[in-house]
C-alpha cells in the first residue's frame, strides 16, 4: 500500500488527505519536503528555522487542504505557504532584533545569505558566483528572486506573499537580475 501511494499523482493524494487520510498526506510531505526545505533554507538562511517553517507549513496544509480548489496544484500551494511562512519568520526576526539589539539578529547556525547549505556536492563555478552575487542583493530583491526562481511563483503570487504590487515585483526582480548578471560577470 505504501508503495502504491508513492506512485500515484498529487491530485489523488491531496483528495485523500482532504478526506482525512494521514498516510496520503505523509506521502505528499515526503515527496515535496526536500523542495520546501530548500526554499525555506534559502529564504531564512537558517537550517533550524527552515525545519520549523516546513513543520508549520505541513500543519497549516493539513488544516486547510479541503479548501484547496485544484488538488493537482498542491505542490505550488505548499511552496506558496512555505514562502509566506518564511517571510513571516524573517519579519518576526527583524522585529525581535530591533528590540534586543543587532547582535541577536542572526541565529547561531545561520547560513550567510549568499553561502549555500553545506553539501558534499562540489558546487560548480556558476553556483559559487551566483551565491556570492546573491549575498550582495538588498533583502527585498533577494526574496523576490528566490520566490521566483526556487519556488516558481508568479508575479501575482509573489506580490501577495510580500504584500507589494505586481509592478513592484517586476521591478525588484529585474533589478535583482541586473545586479546578479553584473556581479557574476565581474566574477569571471
Amino acid at each position: 500500500m505504501r508503495d502504491q501511494l508513492d506512485v500515484v499523482p498529487d491530485a489523488i493524494l491531496a483528495g485523500r488527505a482532504a478526506d482525512g487520510d494521514t498516510a496520503a498526506f505523509e506521502t505528499l510531505a515526503r515527496r515535496y519536503g526536500p523542495h520546501l526545505r530548500a526554499s525555506a533554507r534559502r529564504l531564512t538562511g537558517s537550517y533550524a528555522d527552515a525545519d520549523d517553517v516546513v513543520q508549520e507549513v505541513l500543519v497549516q496544509a493539513w488544516q486547510q487542504l479541503d479548501t484547496l480548489r485544484e488538488p493537482a496544484a498542491v505542490k505550488a500551494w505548499l511552496l506558496r505557504l512555505t514562502g509566506s511562512r518564511s517571510i513571516d519568520l524573517l519579519r518576526r526576526r527583524r522585529n525581535h532584533a530591533t528590540l534586543t539589539g543587532p547582535e541577536d539578529d542572526q541565529p547561531a547556525d545561520t547560513v550567510s545569505p549568499g553561502a549555500g547549505p553545506e553539501t558534499a556536492v562540489v558546487a560548480g563555478a556558476g553556483i559559487r558566483s551566483l551565491k556570492a552575487a546573491l549575498s550582495t542583493l538588498p533583502e527585498e530583491q533577494r526574496r523576490c528572486w528566490i520566490l521566483k526562481e526556487i519556488n516558481g511563483q508568479s508575479y501575482e503570487e509573489i506580490a501577495r506573499t510580500l504584500n507589494i504590487s505586481p509592478a513592484s515585483v517586476r521591478g525588484r526582480l529585474a533589478r535583482a537580475r541586473i545586479t546578479l548578471v553584473r556581479e557574476m560577470e565581474d566574477w569571471r
Binding site: I12, G15, G33, R37, W62, P71, L130, M184, E185
Partner: protein, 193 residues
C-alpha cells in the same frame, strides 16, 4: 562582454527583457532578433537563469530525501487531528441508546476496500445525500487511479460489487449509486525522489 546599463541605446531596458523571459511579452518582438544589445542582454539573463536552476538542484540535493530522519521527526511532531466529517446515525436496539458512525470512517472504509483491489488506488471519496437522516438515498462518488497493466472496466465493475457489499455490511446507508471516475492511469513507476 560587459553588461549592462539598465537602458540600452535602442531605448529598451533590461527590465523589459526580464519580463519578456518570464511572460513572453515585449512591445516589439522582431526587434529582439535584430538588436545586438538586446540579444546580448537576453543571453546574460538566460545564463543567470541556468545558474539559478543549478543552484536549485544543488540546494535540493543538500536538503536530503523525504525519507530521511529529519522528515520522520517532523511528521512525528505533526499530530494530525482526525477529520470526522458528518455524524451518521445507526439503529439502536434500545431506544435510549444513541449510536452513530463518522463520515470519516465510511470514507476510510471505501478507500480501504478500493486499495485492496490489485492495481487500484482510491482518490477523493464523496457521500452525496443527507447521511444524517436514516434511509435517505446516498450516492458514493469515488475517484480512482488504476496502475498500468490492470484492466480498467473489469476493475471498476468488480470494485463496485466489493464496495456495495462492504457498505451493506459495515454501514446502514441507503446506497442508491456508486459512481467511480477513473481519473488517472499510472503508466510507470515514479522516479525515486
Amino acid at each position: 562582454m560587459s553588461m549592462p546599463h539598465e537602458t540600452f541605446e535602442c531605448g529598451h531596458t533590461l527590465e523589459e527583457l526580464s519580463l519578456y523571459l518570464d511572460t513572453g511579452e515585449f512591445p516589439d518582438p522582431p526587434h529582439l532578433e535584430s538588436c545586438p544589445e538586446c540579444r546580448s542582454g537576453l543571453d546574460s539573463l538566460r545564463r543567470l537563469s541556468a545558474a539559478g536552476e543549478e543552484l536549485f538542484a544543488s540546494d535540493l540535493a543538500a536538503a536530503g530525501s523525504g525519507n530521511d530522519d529529519w522528515m520522520k521527526e517532523i511528521l512525528a511532531h505533526l499530530a494530525l487531528e482526525l477529520r470526522p466529517g458528518r455524524s451518521i446515525p445507526l439503529r439502536a436496539d434500545d431506544p435510549a441508546d444513541t449510536l452513530s458512525q463518522t463520515e470519516g470512517s465510511v470514507l476510510a472504509l471505501v478507500r480501504s476496500v478500493t486499495d485492496n483491489l490489485p492495481g487500484a488506488v482510491a482518490g477523493k471519496v464523496r457521500l452525496d445525500g443527507d447521511v444524517t437522516v436514516p434511509g435517505e438515498p446516498v450516492s458514493v462518488r469515488l475517484d480512482l487511479a488504476v496502475l498500468f497493466g490492470h484492466p480498467l472496466m473489469p476493475s471498476a465493475a468488480s470494485l463496485r460489487e466489493d464496495l456495495a457489499e462492504a457498505l451493506a455490511r459495515h454501514t446502514e446507508l441507503n446506497v442508491a449509486a456508486i459512481d467511480i471516475t477513473i481519473t488517472d492511469v499510472i503508466e510507470a513507476p515514479r522516479e525515486e525522489m
